[in-house]
């Protein structure tokens, strides 16, 4: 199978009936009536409840674990510790995943699981946890990544040697990797600059903040078959990783995804699932586990915190001549932050020749980070866009014009080596410039800021199948998670292709036994990639309709055309036949020929990059340091909005997550290395009354490699948010903040110390 549908390129002339409209999503009814089943909503006969004992120490050797008293408690059916997981070498991929699930030699962060219990009720399981005795030898810990890089810092893993050094050495370290990304000649670039700005920035980890905690039910049957129901963005990835960690054939693990109550990247890797499986194996009964909110904060991946420097130079007329970055990413206790996205994306959207970026990834005593919309990019764009604004001020240029002047266009070769096809960055900037928001004067007492952002968008391995029922209605089987309503967009593309009403199409999210491998729903890949396979399947089904119609009419196949959901004679000479609808054909031929079906597995390529520009007005209370977002506009290229309301929802949701990250959200650790704000009360996410309506402008510069022209829309909306808000606050108070979050105490300090 081809990786791109050769005959499926975008066709600008095509008339669309369904794509671009806003039908009610098929999963909506169950969600407004309480019938939708999420991770915590499964029950099985004989089910036990599992709970986790977590380390109170940031760094400690686990000398021994005594579970005998817990095991003796009536109602307790199994207890597991490190001894119940296959040994996997430290530093290997499976070794790290095993140690994320359950501490082995050491407890490595506050909240690290050290044991778990399955019992007849949650109350009994919790009582049993208190009876487990763990003998710890507490070690010095390190929370801050910059501290973790210093000589003399506690070394957290024996096996880490920094990869990517010019002169490799054999010293144990907390720096997992150094990466240099460059193009052109940075020295020459700065030499050509009339103005140079260099600034230091930092950001704290924030949490993905999905409202549904991880929840699952695992059943390990006697013949070694595992059934797992869980809330996940990546059923197939969970299966394959569980297979590696638990040393069970992938084919013996069947993962059935529930409805997903938010993920945003945070449900791309498992947490309680392997524990639930091992508890079930030992207890020989199904085990349900649901994390508490405190466990979600302490034990599941937040986003990388960063410390970094940005240096950029430009000419008097605003051309950026050089861009440099030195970036430090904290990855939590294990490598895997995807920090490499940052050098690849942080400047990409500008037509730069001379770039030099040196990046480091560092471990510290925190939970391993997990991905979040455009992993590792937004927190760096916060600094990049701040520096560009400063340069624009130096040359007295409108900040939007400065971005327009430097905007990359088709044909630009990026730092990661891709030559861009048709992209919509200039169109996005122009739409922003023409927007009511940008044209309106900045209200008295407020500051306005803009920020721009980019994301690659992704394709990847995707398998789906399509089955036409005898009555002509259509089921599509997908294996990707639906994180926000992709099902309706996928159904719409199928309906458009087949020429039938969208209500005739239903989507089933299959378990991992039912389809070929599907990559994680992440990186804005799902609607794009699944859409490709669905169009491919629809075209295969159409060719079968045509063949069957030709047989019914006893004419050659090329005398039949398929249009608007019907087969008709190709012209006068083809014969005089009443058109046959899909249902006519399937009714007449399913018995004789079998059902019309199609399946596709492909590695989808050709994703079209996405660009956005945000405009925001803020008011800063100089007495309290509190920032209010007064007006917000997201302008972004969708390629093509299949379901515009869904696309707007992505823009708005991303922006408000970014508002939280910009103004409030952060992980706060005490001297003791323990997380101090592991609740929604102390980790404050934006609530309804914190934000205004979020205006949206959908730009449509089609992706030529997709039949409907779409790009992904899930990541870009959060990329420029903190940057735009930072610039707005800078314009409001006269000094641009350089530390995220821009919380009231930090802004007060800035205001008090500013010599304005």
């Amino acid at each position: 199978m081809a990786t791109i549908l050769e005959d499926s390129k975008f066709d600008a002339q095509r008339e669309l009936n369904i794509v671009g409209t806003n039908p009610v999503k098929h999963d909506g009814l169950d969600k407004v009536t309480g019938r939708a089943k999420f991770g915590a909503d499964f029950f099985l006969p004989g089910m036990l409840f599992g709970c986790i004992l977590r380390s109170p120490h940031a760094h400690a050797i686990i000398k021994s674990i005594d579970t005998s008293a817990a095991e003796a408690l009536p109602g307790v059916k199994s207890v597991v510790t490190r001894d119940d997981f296959p040994d996997q070498p430290a530093g290997s991929a499976a070794g790290d995943m095993t140690r994320v699930a359950m501490a082995r030699e050491k407890a490595l962060f506050d909240g690290h699981p050290v044991a778990a219990v399955a019992a007849t009720s949650e109350a009994v399981a919790r009582r049993a946890l208190k009876l487990i005795k763990v003998d710890y030898e507490v070690l010095p810990h390190v929370i801050d990544p910059v501290d973790a890089m210093k000589p003399g810092a506690p070394i957290l893993h024996d096996h880490i040697r920094t990869k990517g050094l010019d002169e490799p050495n054999d010293n144990p370290t907390n720096v997992t990797e150094r990466m240099v990304s460059k193009m052109g000649d940075i020295e020459k670039g700065f030499a050509a600059a009339d103005f140079i700005v260099e600034r230091e920035f930092d950001s704290k980890p924030m949490h993905q903040g999905y409202i549904e905690p991880q929840g699952c039910v695992a059943e390990y049957s006697k013949d070694g078959q595992v059934e797992l129901w869980c809330s996940t963005q990546a059923p197939f990835v969970y299966r394959d990783r569980l297979s590696a960690v638990l040393k069970i054939d992938a084919a013996k693990i069947n993962v059935q995804q529930s409805e997903l109550g938010g993920g945003f990247g945070g449900k791309t890797g498992f947490y309680p699932e392997p524990i639930a499986i091992q508890l079930s194996k030992k207890a020989t009964r199904p085990v349900k586990m649901v994390l508490s909110r405190g466990e979600v904060f302490r034990g599941t991946g937040p986003v990388s915190g960063t410390s970094y420097k940005i240096k950029m130079g430009c000419t008097k007329d605003g051309k950026i001549t050089a861009a440099q970055g030195e970036l430090i990413f904290q990855t939590g206790i294990f490598t895997g932050s995807m920090y490499f996205n940052a050098p690849n994306a942080m400047f990409t959207r500008y037509d730069l020749e001379n770039v030099y970026i040196e990046s480091f990834e560092v471990v510290s005593n925190r939970p391993k980070v997990n991905s979040f919309r455009a992993p590792c990019v937004p927190q760096i764009v916060f600094g990049v866009e701040g520096v560009i604004d400063e340069l624009a001020k130096k040359i007295d240029m409108d900040p939007l014009d400065m971005r327009l002047k430097n905007a990359a266009t088709e044909g630009y070769t990026t730092i990661y080596g891709e030559t861009l096809g048709p992209i919509g960055f200039v169109e996005t900037l122009e739409a922003a410039k023409a927007s009511d928001h940008y044209k309106s004067p900045v209200p008295e007492g407020q500051g306005r800021g803009i920020g721009s952002g980019f994301w690659f968008n992704r394709g990847g391995e995707t398998s789906t199948s399509m089955n036409i029922a005898p009555d002509g209605s259509v089921t599509i089987i997908t294996g990707t998670a639906d994180v926000a309503g992709s099902r309706i967009s996928i159904a719409m593309m199928a309906a458009e292709e087949l020429g039938i009403p969208v209500d005739k199409v239903r989507i089933t999210m299959a378990d991992t036994n039912s389809l070929g491998f599907n990559r994680v729903t992440a990186g804005s890949r799902t609607t794009y990639s699944v859409g490709m396979t669905v169009v491919d399947n629809a075209r295969e089904c159409i060719s079968q309709f045509v063949r069957r119609a030709a047989e019914i009419w006893d004419v050659p196949e090329d005398a039949v055309v398929f249009e608007n959901g019907e087969c008709r004679p190709a012209g006068q000479n083809a014969g005089n036949f009443e058109p046959l609808s899909i249902a006519d054909i399937t009714k007449q031929t399913t018995m004789s020929h079998g059902a019309v079906t199609a399946s596709t597995s492909m590695n989808v390529t050709g994703a079209g990059p996405g660009f956005g520009l945000h405009i925001v007005d803020v008011k800063v209370d100089e007495e309290t340091g509190r920032t209010d977002v007064m007006r917000y506009t997201v302008v972004e290229d969708a390629g093509k909005a299949i379901h515009p309301l869904q696309v707007e929802g992505q823009y708005q949701g991303g922006a408000v997550q970014g508002i939280g990250w910009a103004l409030n959200e952060e992980y706060v650790y005490g001297e003791d290395g323990r997380l101090q704000n592991a609740s929604f009360l102390d980790y404050r996410m934006p609530v309804t009354s914190d934000v205004p309506m979020i205006d949206t402008v959908i730009v449509e510069v089609p992706n030529p490699l997709h039949p409907f022209g779409l790009r992904g829309v899930g990541e870009v909306p959060v990329v420029p948010t903190m940057a735009a808000i930072g610039n707005a606050i800078g314009n409001a108070i006269g000094i641009r903040p350089r530390s995220l979050p821009m919380s009231p105490p930090k802004l007060l300090e800035l205001i008090d110390n500013a010599d304005r």
Partner: protein
């Protein structure tokens, strides 16, 4: 072992008799004893609103109410909002205006919004936002939630 209490609660007009531990919360009983899983649990500390239900006509977080406190009382949950196939105008407007993405916050938001419209059939945007400030949603950015509630209010005033 603590002795279980015998409790009778009316949920959406149906009488349920059950045994529960004295410390068991209403959300726990609704979900795990009565298997009415439409009510969601996002935090168990009263901070997310996913567990919102009506207790004797008052909006409460069911994670902060003990099930034993509801003995002889009436509770309304999301499962009781539609009358058969007849959706409440709030439910319909959330569907049509895309007031939900993942849907995990939706039952709680709908219950809270219904409570708002019962006291204030004509809320301003600000009133709507402050009333719903106890219901976290991480997906939508709230824009389409607020619009859905206000559209439903308008429809209900007209009806």
């Amino acid at each position: 072992m603590v002795k279980k209490a015998h409790v009778t609660t009316s949920v959406n007009g149906d009488e349920y008799e059950y045994l529960c531990e004295p410390g068991q919360t209403l959300v726990d009983v609704l979900r795990n004893e009565l298997e009415l899983t439409g009510t969601k649990e996002g935090c168990s500390t009263g901070d997310c609103g996913a567990c919102s239900v009506m207790l004797e006509g008052e909006l409460v977080c069911s994670c902060l109410v003990l099930a034993v406190e509801t003995d002889g009382k009436s509770v309304e949950t999301i499962e009781g909002m539609a009358k058969g196939d007849d959706l409440h105008p709030l439910q319909r407007n959330f569907l049509e205006l895309n007031g939900l993405q993942c849907g995990i916050c939706t039952p709680g938001v709908l219950i809270a919004a219904k409570a708002l419209l019962e006291r204030n059939p004509n809320p301003t945007e600000t009133e709507t936002r402050f009333w719903l400030a106890g219901n976290l949603c991480r997906c939508t950015g709230y824009d389409k939630i607020v619009r859905s509630v206000m559209a439903a209010a308008e429809e209900m005033r007209g009806a």
